[in-house]
Amino acid sequence: MIPEFPVRVSQALGNERVRRNIRRTMDGLVLKRHKAFPDEHELAVLRRRGKLIRGHALAHLPDLLEELERNCQRNGIQVHWAETAAEGNALVRDILRRHGADLVIKGKSMVSEEMGLNHYLEAQGIRAVETDLGEFILQLGDERPSHIIAPAIHKDRVEIAQRFAAHFPEYPYTEDIEGLTAIARRIMREHFGRAIAGLSGVNFAVAETGTLCLVENEGNGRLCTTAPQVHIAVCGIEKVIARLDQLPPLLTLLTRSATGQPITTYVNMISGPRREGELDGPREVHLVLLDNGRSRIHGDPQLSSTLRCIRCGACMNHCPVYSRLGGHAYGTVYPGPIGGVLEPQLQGLDRLGELADASSLCGACGEVCPVRIPLPALLRRLRAEGVRGRQGSRVVGQGSRRKPLHRLIWTLWRWVNAYPSLYRGLTGLGTRLRWLMPKHLGPWTRTRSAPALAPRSLHELARSEGFRGE
């Protein structure tokens, strides 16, 4: 059982090593992004374009999904639809079973994390092997990613070296990063040479041409989608874009925001399985389109902007809360500001509404988001909806976070403020009895001194200066 959020937070804050590792990476990524956008004006134009392209796709989502399906099918890609993670998992399993695959090699995919695919397949007797270096390191220790772009940033080389030594004693111990990488390459090459099936995510699905676009630096994504007999791509329904020529602006926003790279090493555009006469490429390509709560989000005019997200991770890199806690404290697949907005919508405010509180509302996330999602405004909306509910909103668990004590306090507050004499009496009483105020006020005073009440309230002082009801 995952401990409650506040417990996870204090655990995370107590882990100096993880905090150091995360902090180092976040500072690096912030700097890299900053250098990647030297021209403020260009950045502003690009972000606006990114927002409009993604907004356009969402406004026409059902039509574009049908167009995508048509063009994928014309290209020979088989398209499947899943309403829930469970349906998606079953679809993947059935495809693998049909090919008699007991092993599937995986490129990095957050949607597959969202589906809990690895564990599901394992229970069905199918081994899923992560091939992205970071994911590979995590899988050895049955850990989850702590960041959507750099999944293993909470680990340092020493921990990784020890983990490799424990799992692969046949290789000499090394803490050298090149050396560790070389070991991983050797081990994974065996899988690539053997596996019948590969699985990947999708960064953008182009409706116009029926093309699945994937970006990566390592080449494992290309291997997973090229070397096996079958390629299965899992994709959230919001990932579609209308036109091929919309790729360049989105790609540059994505890679520069994520890691400060002008472009990733590989941009992989897949438009179908192996054609007649070709010597490689999968014989079947399957696209699994996953809803899992997205169509509900799509139905809300304001919250639907959540679906513009291109999963660059910039909002978490710039978040003062994320960079102190790291991703595991959130306990969800998507951490940081986008997690605080997306997860309560996917899983309900009753279950995860507190993630929307994990923000100082400093506004940094909204300022860096390449598709200009108003993250702080959405966080505030979800906070409010958690306690109050809202007419016409379909967010699950509205009002569930309101406690009877809160209700009582706010009712009293309303009365006190509605009757001046009551207000005067109470503040007067408060200042007279200020010596009764405790020195320790829970966690607040652990690192601060308790606030002291003044002997006379501001109103009293004002009245004695001759102000009357002003």
Binding site: H56, A59, I137, D245, P248, T264, Y266, M269, L289, S304
Partner: protein, 224 residues
């Protein structure tokens, strides 16, 4: 039996956002001279550890020397392409570095390809000056694993095919109109990972080194 497709689409259709025009997306391009395109391409690729050398018809010799310096014993290539022909004709020493024509489907040469191939040679459609990227359209003659599996990858590029941006490239060549291949690719440097302490390590899955042989004579005058 429920139909997830219909259910999803009908939920999406329940909301009627106003139709929006396709957002403006002017082609981003730069009026760089052919010389400038080449030098920018070189610089951008060098920044991600891609090597660029200028060559003429003697390119197979240059490639030979490069492979030799890296201790490669063999080179896999696509025999049915023009490049493949040129390579065969001008290869200096098939004893020192064996030429391996790539003709079989991956199913029958998997082991050879994954375990015993030191280097791969491909051509490319062109390149992108702004980011130092190569544009590859693998084909029946030149399959996609050639540019991915061997630890060394060499590419022959004609300088006249360098364009300023990816956006310009795909619009000018009308990718939509002519239809995409199964796997169009942009390749920018050798394979790398920063997953351990954000420190770059090369050759994690794909090639560890990338060499681009640029044939200049063919086009700087013409330039698109």
């Amino acid at each position: 039996m429920s139909d997830p497709r219909a259910a999803i689409l009908s939920r999406l259709r329940a909301r009627h956002p106003a139709a929006r025009p396709l957002p403006e997306n002017p082609v981003r391009r730069f009026d760089w001279s052919p010389q400038e395109r080449l030098s920018r391409f070189r610089e951008a690729l060098a920044a991600v550890r891609g090597e660029v050398v200028l060559v003429d018809e003697d390119w197979p010799l240059r490639l030979f020397a490069w492979l030799r310096a890296r201790g490669a014993n063999n080179l896999r290539y696509a025999p049915a392409t023009e490049l493949g022909q040129e390579l065969e004709q001008a290869w200096p020493d098939g004893e020192a570095i064996r030429l391996m024509p790539h003709r079989e489907p991956v199913e029958t040469c998997r082991q050879e390809l994954f375990a015993n191939t030191d280097a791969g040679l491909t051509g490319c459609l062109g390149a992108i000056a702004e980011t130092g990227s190569l544009v590859l359209w693998p084909s029946v003659q030149e399959p996609r694993l050639l540019s991915l599996v061997p630890p060394l990858h060499a590419v022959v590029l004609d300088a006249r095919n360098i364009r300023s941006t990816f956006h310009e490239f795909l619009v000018a060549e009308d990718w939509v109109g002519q239809g995409l291949p199964t796997n169009a690719l942009l390749i920018t440097g050798p394979s790398k990972s920063a997953d351990i302490e954000q420190t770059l390590a090369y050759g994690v899955h794909g090639p560890k080194e990338l060499l681009v042989l640029v044939r200049q004579d063919l086009g700087l005058a013409g330039g698109a």
